[in-house]
């Protein structure tokens, strides 16, 4: 398992856009992918998601890219802090 390693791969703008669109569709967000700044926080002031929204996005993303998310991974907080960090993680860990 590579769970506790920091992703060494950076995500491309194309992947970030794809992830943004996936989140918009799954959470019914009233924004477009262009309006989501890669570094804006997903929680609270940024996109204004709550932990249930983030869970929903997490489940969707893990299904789409074949990720294994685990509750005891110390990086979860970082991974789900912004669109960029989530996309970086996907780029590093994806199995499909």
């Amino acid at each position: 398992m590579q769970d506790n390693q920091k992703p060494t791969v950076s995500s491309t703008a194309a992947l970030q856009r794809e992830v943004a669109e996936l989140m918009i569709e799954c959470l019914n967000l009233e924004v477009t992918a262009d309006q989501i700044t890669p570094d804006a926080p997903l929680y609270g002031d940024g996109l204004g998601l709550d932990s249930i929204d983030v869970l929903e996005a997490a489940l969707e993303v893990s299904k789409r890219y074949g990720l294994q998310l685990r509750s005891d991974s110390e990086d979860n907080k970082h991974i789900f802090s912004s669109l960029r960090s989530l996309s970086d993680y996907i780029a590093a860990q994806r199995t499909r």
Binding site: D50, L69, S71
Partner: protein, 291 residues
């Protein structure tokens, strides 16, 4: 303080401990005007008549008694109590599915009796989910009473706890929540309870809907003396609810939850432990999420 109280309760017995409870109930009745006001407002609705002083006293005493009994329950002293259980068949049938379920309770009666029942009769472990701050407080309290009990509390707040919750369910486990209070910014639904609209948080039901699990209502009502009545009622089943129908299903579940609260508040009125203005209007209009 809590350790001293625990020591008195365990060494000198439940009867001695209960003398202290009368002092606590008297203290609240005399010196806690905000709690007294909340109690009176609630009891007027639940009893359908103006409450008397002895009703208020009974209300505070019931609250203190259930907290006191927690000391014994957490320490596995089940022989002290007389439990009657209703709806256990429903619970067992749903558990047999092996995919876990949610137990949704309220600040109504004692949830500790339900966790105790799980430990006594089965290897069933109920993990209670609550807001991070409360989880820390409760864990500190449980640590004082019985260090082994600590692990059964999941603190809500970020993605880790949500994933932990899902892992519990995937193992066929039971996740308990008290769904009548909101930890913060939650979407609220106005629903009638005891004749007036109250705003209930949607978070617990949204979580159950997202994870597609059955939901069973639970309450452990204190009946006086050493008697408790535990009730399990089917509340909702999100197992087959598609994403498009989710909001409607959540709304229906909250309405059913409110109806159950209404019913049990009238059945056992002194068990309501929300000592604040539960029926206050929402601070701002919060319409359900679009879509």
């Amino acid at each position: 303080m809590l350790r001293v109280m625990t020591w008195i309760s365990l060494r000198l017995g439940r009867r001695a401990g209960r003398v202290v409870l009368h002092l606590i109930a008297s203290y609240f009745l005399l010196f806690a005007p905000a709690s007294r006001r909340a109690s009176r407002n609630y009891l007027r609705r639940a009893l359908g008549r103006p409450p008397r002083w002895r009703d208020l006293y009974q209300h505070f005493f019931t609250f203190a008694a259930t907290i006191h009994d927690r000391v014994y329950l957490v320490n596995h002293r089940f022989e002290l109590f007389d439990f009657e259980v209703h709806g256990e068949d429903t619970l067992r049938r749903l558990l047999a599915g092996g995919k876990g379920l949610f137990l949704m309770g309220a600040h109504l009666g004692s949830f500790e009796v339900i966790r105790a029942l799980g430990r006594r009769d089965t290897d069933l472990r109920v993990a209670m989910v609550m807001h991070q701050d409360n989880a820390q407080k409760i864990n500190a309290m449980l640590a004082a009473i019985n260090p082994e009990a600590v692990q059964d509390i999941i603190g809500l707040g970020h993605i880790d706890s949500m994933l932990k919750l899902r892992e519990r369910l995937d193992e066929g486990g039971v996740v308990g929540m008290l769904a009548d209070r909101t930890p913060g910014n939650d979407i609220l639904y106005p629903v009638p309870i005891l004749g007036t609209n109250a705003n209930l948080p949607s978070g617990p039901f949204r979580t159950a809907a997202l994870l597609r699990r059955p939901v069973v209502f639970m309450t452990g009502l204190y009946l006086g003396g050493n008697r408790y009545a535990i009730h399990f009622d089917p509340l909702a089943d999100f197992s087959t609810v598609a994403r498009g129908q989710r909001d409607a299903a959540v709304e229906a579940a909250i309405a059913r939850y409110a109806a159950l609260l209404d019913h049990y508040c009238r059945t056992a009125p002194y068990n309501w432990f929300n000592f604040f203005d539960f029926w206050q209007p929402a601070p701002t209009a919060t319409p359900p999420k679009a879509g």
